[in-house]
């Protein structure tokens, strides 16, 4: 390892090593960032799971306990309100699920608190809630038991009341007649129906009256006991039982005393037994009532306690919930803190990583490699460009430096070789170039010829319609006069056959002579028109021929003929087209020595363009009054002639008027014009020592002015400009 470092330090610092160091550094930074992120997420996750595992179920259980406590508190009065034991049982069965649910919630809460560990929890509150909840659940059971006990006591009390009522009836059944009898005896001395009345001193004695008084006392006391028992049965305040019982005891004492005073008879014996039993049962009734009231008191106390428990359970559970919420908040806070810290750390590490990567990139790739490669490449490019003079100045200890050194060696060798071969190489190159140029020139000429020929043929084709029209007139003449002549000859033949002997009369001779005169005239006309047709065909043939020599030509006739050809050619294309042609020919124009078919083609071209322009305008306008008009003027000039071809077409816009003589410039659709017409026309006129000018106002007119010199330059000087085109173009 140390060796490796030493080698690294001493030896050449290779690109691979440099890259490894760079990538290693970046990887180390990324790893560090990932570790920080991992740790942060771990902490966030811990906090969240603390919230989820601990606080949330606690809260749910606490809520359940709070809700359940309310239900249980409401259940208490329901139990106590039961009118019968059946009601109680039903209520108890219905309450049971709520109670079970409450206890389960409570147990769950206690378990959760136990799991969480009291020290980190608000233990006191949980214990309070737990204790109160258990008490609440227990109270409900106690209430149920108490109510059940109340029913038992009530049953016993009813039974006792029934018994007391029966006793009371039995006592009354004995006491009332006894009283009645005693009073009657005291008053009348009659004890029974049969016995005679007792003496007055016997029956109206103190003893008898006292007996009566005792019975009345008993009657009163038993009534008092009756009322006391009725009152005590209604009492709900335990304290008030005591004074009633005291009153009862007084009455009981009084009864006991009275019973003691009654004489021993069968009736009094039964009465005594009944009273004793009555008193005993009455005491029981008091005791029973006391117990009943105690049970009722206990129920009320339990209900009140439950209400209080529920009331305090509410804030306790609220406290728990608040504590849990606080813990949840703390945990959330911790996790968001962890998120913040992690984020900051990550950000810093990312910045560091990016900065490191940029630095490494800049250092190794930019500074150490790219710049030096660029230098090397520049050197190579210069060498390739022939500059072998500049030295290659790339230093260092790595592979690039090796390449630079090798290139330097190469450069020096190349410099030597270059100097030796330079002259020879230049000579050869020149020779080659010349040969190539010649070939190109030949090709160009061939191409030009081909183009011109094609133009010619195209124009010829176009022209055919015009030519055909021109020829048609003379041919018609020829045909008509031939027919007339033929008829005349038949006439002659008939005249000749009029006489059997073959002789001719004087009249006949004269007639024949007249016919012959007509025939002669006809033949003359046929000849003239045949010649005209011949001339037209010759002209056309001349046009098709490659070259022609100059000859004397009547310029007016030349112009006139080509106007006709061009017009009819245009009409052949568009039969709706009509053109008013005004000719103003200078009769003194005379002849000029020109290549007549070339010059004719120029006029053909100009008139064709005029036709096109006027037709365009006609088709483009709604103006009915527009009348396409062509004005052709010839003038004799001092040194030649001037021909003006003026149309009232659309004119030429100023921005293209400069370009109209350029070859291949055209405004016509691609398949209609070649763009060579005006260019060739200008060439032809130039060959005849003249020039073409243009005068135009857009939207009004175009006037092409052709000047032809009377003394044209030597034909050979302009031999290259042969040919031309009838094809319209250039506008």
């Amino acid at each position: 390892m140390i060796d490796w470092f030493r080698k690294l330090a001493e030896g050449r610092f290779r690109i691979a090593a440099q890259l490894y160091v760079g990538i290693g550094g970046a990887a180390a930074l990324t790893l560090a960032a990932s570790l920080v992120a991992l740790l942060s997420f771990q902490r966030v996750g811990d906090s969240q799971s603390r919230v989820n595992d601990g606080t949330v179920p606690e809260l749910a259980a606490a809520f359940g306990v709070a809700r359940g406590s309310g239900i249980l508190v409401a259940a208490g009065p329901r139990l106590t309100a039961s009118a019968t034991e059946g009601d109680l049982d039903r209520a108890w069965v219905e309450i049971a699920p709520a109670r079970r649910d409450f206890e389960e919630r409570l147990e769950e809460l206690i378990r959760l608190v136990g799991e969480a560990g009291g020290s980190v929890r608000s233990g006191d509150e949980f214990e309070t809630v737990q204790a109160r909840g258990r008490e609440l659940a227990g109270n409900i059971e106690a209430i149920q038991q108490s109510v059940a006990e109340g029913f038992q006591l009530g049953r016993a009390s009813r039974e006792l009341r029934g018994e007391l009522g029966a006793l009371r009836g039995a006592i009354a059944a004995l006491l009332v007649p006894a009283l009645d009898d005693q009073l009657f005896y005291a008053m009348t001395g009659l004890r029974s129906f049969e016995e005679p009345p007792a003496p007055r001193e016997v029956h109206f004695s103190e003893a008898e009256i006292n007996r009566y008084r005792v019975l009345v006392g008993l009657q009163q006391d038993i009534t008092i006991v009756d009322q006391l028992l009725a009152s005590v049965a209604q009492l709900t305040d335990r304290a008030l039982i005591e004074p009633l019982e005291e009153q009862y005891e007084s009455a009981a004492t009084s009864i006991e005393r009275a019973i003691g005073a009654i004489d021993e008879t069968a009736t009094s014996g039964r009465l005594k037994a009944l009273f004793e039993r009555m008193l005993e049962k009455s005491r029981e009734a008091f005791e029973l009532r006391r117990r009943e009231v105690a049970v009722l008191d206990r129920q009320q106390a339990l209900l009140a306690q439950n209400r209080e428990l529920a009331l305090s359970l509410g804030p306790d559970v609220d406290g728990l919930v608040a504590a849990s919420q606080a813990r949840a908040r703390a945990a959330t806070l911790a996790s968001s803190q962890a998120i913040r810290t992690g984020r900051a750390l990550l950000l810093a590490l990312n910045v560091l990583s990016i900065a490191g990567a940029i630095f490494i990139g800049w250092l190794f790739v930019g500074r150490l490699l790219v710049r030096r490669f660029e230098a090397l490449s520049n050197s190579m490019r210069e060498m390739a460009g022939g500059n072998l003079e500049a030295e290659i100045g790339v230093g260092g200890k790595d592979e690039v430096a090796d390449m630079a050194a090798a290139l330097e060696v190469f450069r020096r060798h190349a410099l030597e070789v270059q100097r030796l071969n330079l002259v020879e190489k230049l000579a050869d190159e020149l020779k080659d170039k010349n040969a190539q140029l010649e070939v190109v020139l030949a090709d160009l000429q061939k191409a030009q010829d081909q183009i011109v020929m094609r133009e010619k043929l195209a124009a010829l084709g176009e022209l055919t319609a015009g030519v055909a029209h021109e020829i048609k007139n003379p041919l018609n003449f020829v045909k008509n006069f031939s027919e007339v002549s033929s008829e005349l000859l038949e006439e002659v033949d008939e005249i000749m056959k009029e006489n059997e002997d073959g002789s001719l009369s004087e009249d006949q001779r004269e007639e024949i002579a007249e016919i012959f005169e007509d025939l002669t005239g006809n033949l003359k006309l046929i000849q003239n028109h045949g010649e005209r047709a011949n001339r037209i065909v010759n002209d056309m043939l001349k046009m098709g021929r490659g070259a022609a020599g100059r000859e004397e030509a009547d310029i007016n006739r030349l112009v006139d003929e080509h106007i006709g050809l061009a017009y009819h050619s245009a009409r052949a294309t568009d039969p709706n087209f009509n053109l008013t042609i005004e000719k103003d020919f200078d009769p003194d124009l005379g002849t000029l020595e020109v290549v007549s078919q070339d010059v004719g083609r120029v006029f053909l071209n100009l008139v064709g363009n005029a036709c096109y322009a006027t037709n365009e305008r006609r088709q483009g306008t709604d103006d009915e009054s527009y009348e396409p008009t062509l004005t052709v003027t010839t003038r004799k000039m001092d040194d030649g002639v001037e021909v003006r071809v003026r149309d009232n077409g659309n004119g030429i816009p100023p921005d293209i008027v400069e370009k109209i003589f350029n070859p291949f410039f055209t405004t016509k659709p691609t398949d209609e014009g070649t763009g060579l017409g005006l260019a060739l026309s200008a060439d032809i006129v130039r060959q005849h020592g003249g020039m073409i000018r243009v005068d135009t106002v857009p939207g009004e007119f175009t006037e092409m002015i052709v000047e032809l010199s009377a003394a044209p330059p030597d034909l050979d000087d302009v031999a290259a400009g042969t040919g031309g085109a009838e094809e319209a173009g250039g506008r």
């Binding site: 009332v176 009283l179 009348t188």
Partner: protein, 397 residues
């Protein structure tokens, strides 16, 4: 309408009827009133069958049953047999309340009939009224029952009986020293009120008032009380046992006022209790003599009684029971086949005059008492009753 549609509509109507259920009023088969089925109509009776007033309950039951048997033998009313369910209340208000509740709620009787006694009726009527159950022909003449809308009274009131007594005493005998002995309850007070009303009309006052406890024979205190007023006549408002006892003891004391007592006393039982000593005791009756030939219904009664119980002797109480039964039958017949409790009461209210074989009854709006007839009878030496056409002072023993 297509058959299909009709079927659908019928189904809908049936469904609607089913929805109306027991409450349905327009249903083709109206739910019968409680206690009424196609085969029978059940009546309930709460009366004394034990104790000092037991003869009254028994008599009423016997009479009602005789009437019911009679009509049942003849095919019932609108095809329904009439049945009677009797419960013993021992002449105690508590018992009457319990029985009435049981008869209405548990047994589902159509109507109550032949209740015996004023305090018992006073307790039972509100229970019956609350349930909308008719209370027919109670064996009492208490005034308050003449104002209850669900009560149908057969007999004349106590006030009418006492008026008859006072009228005869003052009219026939010119007696003005009259004492009153009453049972210490609402029956006694109802009787006393009747007597006082009769006295007031004549500007008189009772010379003495004696009181004895209900369901006892302890009447001697009352005897002592009235003796102090030296009455020429004593009107007793009580049951047969204490009345008999009072008469006996009064006579034992050597006193011989004219004794008069209300129909409620149970005439035959009283005569039996008194034995030979009962001669000259006057009893007002609200039904004709059960052994007489007029009105015709008396004979019908005797025939029905014999048919029902060959060993039973005719008597005022069972005759009143028989008339009560006949009244119920009359009302049911007037209701038609569709019987309900309101219609039952209304049938009698709307009937106006009803004649049960010569025994005339008249009802109307605000008049729920059928008969106003009071008959004064007297026990003769043979212990039998006869009509008291003219009062005589009893000869002193």
């Amino acid at each position: 309408m297509s058959v299909r549609k009709q079927t659908a509509r019928s189904t809908a109507v049936l469904a609607a009827l089913a929805a109306l259920g027991a409450a349905g009023t327009a249903a083709a088969q109206p739910p019968a009133a409680p206690g009424v089925t196609a085969e029978r109509v059940l009546f309930g009776q709460s009366a004394a069958f034990n104790g000092p007033a037991a003869e009254l309950g028994r008599g009423m039951r016997l009479g009602i049953e005789a009437a019911f048997s009679e009509v049942n033998e003849a095919g019932g009313v609108h095809g329904r047999r009439l049945e009677l369910l009797s419960l013993d209340d021992g002449y105690e208000p508590e018992g009457a309340i319990g029985n009435t509740r049981r008869l209405i709620e548990d047994e589902g009787v159509f109507a109550l009939i032949g209740g015996v006694g004023t305090p018992t009726s006073r307790s039972a009527v509100p229970v019956a009224a609350e349930a909308g159950v008719p209370y027919v022909a109670p064996f009492t003449g208490a005034g308050f029952l003449r104002e209850e809308p669900n009560v149908i009274n057969l007999r004349a009131s106590y006030a009418q009986e006492t008026e008859e007594m006072v009228a005869r005493l003052t009219g026939d005998l010119g007696i003005e020293r009259i004492a009153v002995v009453i049972q210490n309850d609402s029956f006694g007070r109802a009787g006393l009120a009747g007597v006082r009303a009769a006295f007031d009309r004549r500007g008189m006052d009772p010379v003495a008032i004696g009181v004895y406890p209900r369901n006892t024979t302890a009447v001697k205190t009352a005897l002592v009380d009235i003796e102090l007023g030296s009455p020429e006549a004593v009107i007793v408002v009580g049951a047969y046992q204490p009345v008999a006892s009072l008469v006996a003891w009064t006579r034992r004391l050597g006193l011989d006022p004219v004794f008069m007592t209300l129909s409620f006393v149970g005439s035959n039982a009283l005569a039996q209790e008194l034995g030979p000593g009962g001669a000259g005791v006057y009893v007002t009756q609200v039904v004709p003599f059960p052994t007489a030939s007029r009105p015709r219904i008396a004979a019908t009664y005797r025939r029905a009684l014999r048919a029902h119980d060959a060993g039973a002797a005719p008597g005022f109480v069972s005759f009143e029971g028989y008339l009560a039964g006949r009244l119920a039958i009359e009302a049911l017949e007037r209701c038609g086949a569709e019987v309900d409790r309101e219609g039952f009461v209304q049938a009698l209210r709307d009937a106006g005059d009803i004649e049960l074989e010569g025994f005339r009854l008249a009802f109307g709006d605000g008049d729920n008492q059928g008969s106003d007839a009071v008959f004064l009878t007297v026990i003769d030496e043979s212990g039998r009753y006869r009509a008291a056409t003219r009062l005589v002072r009893p000869a002193a023993p």
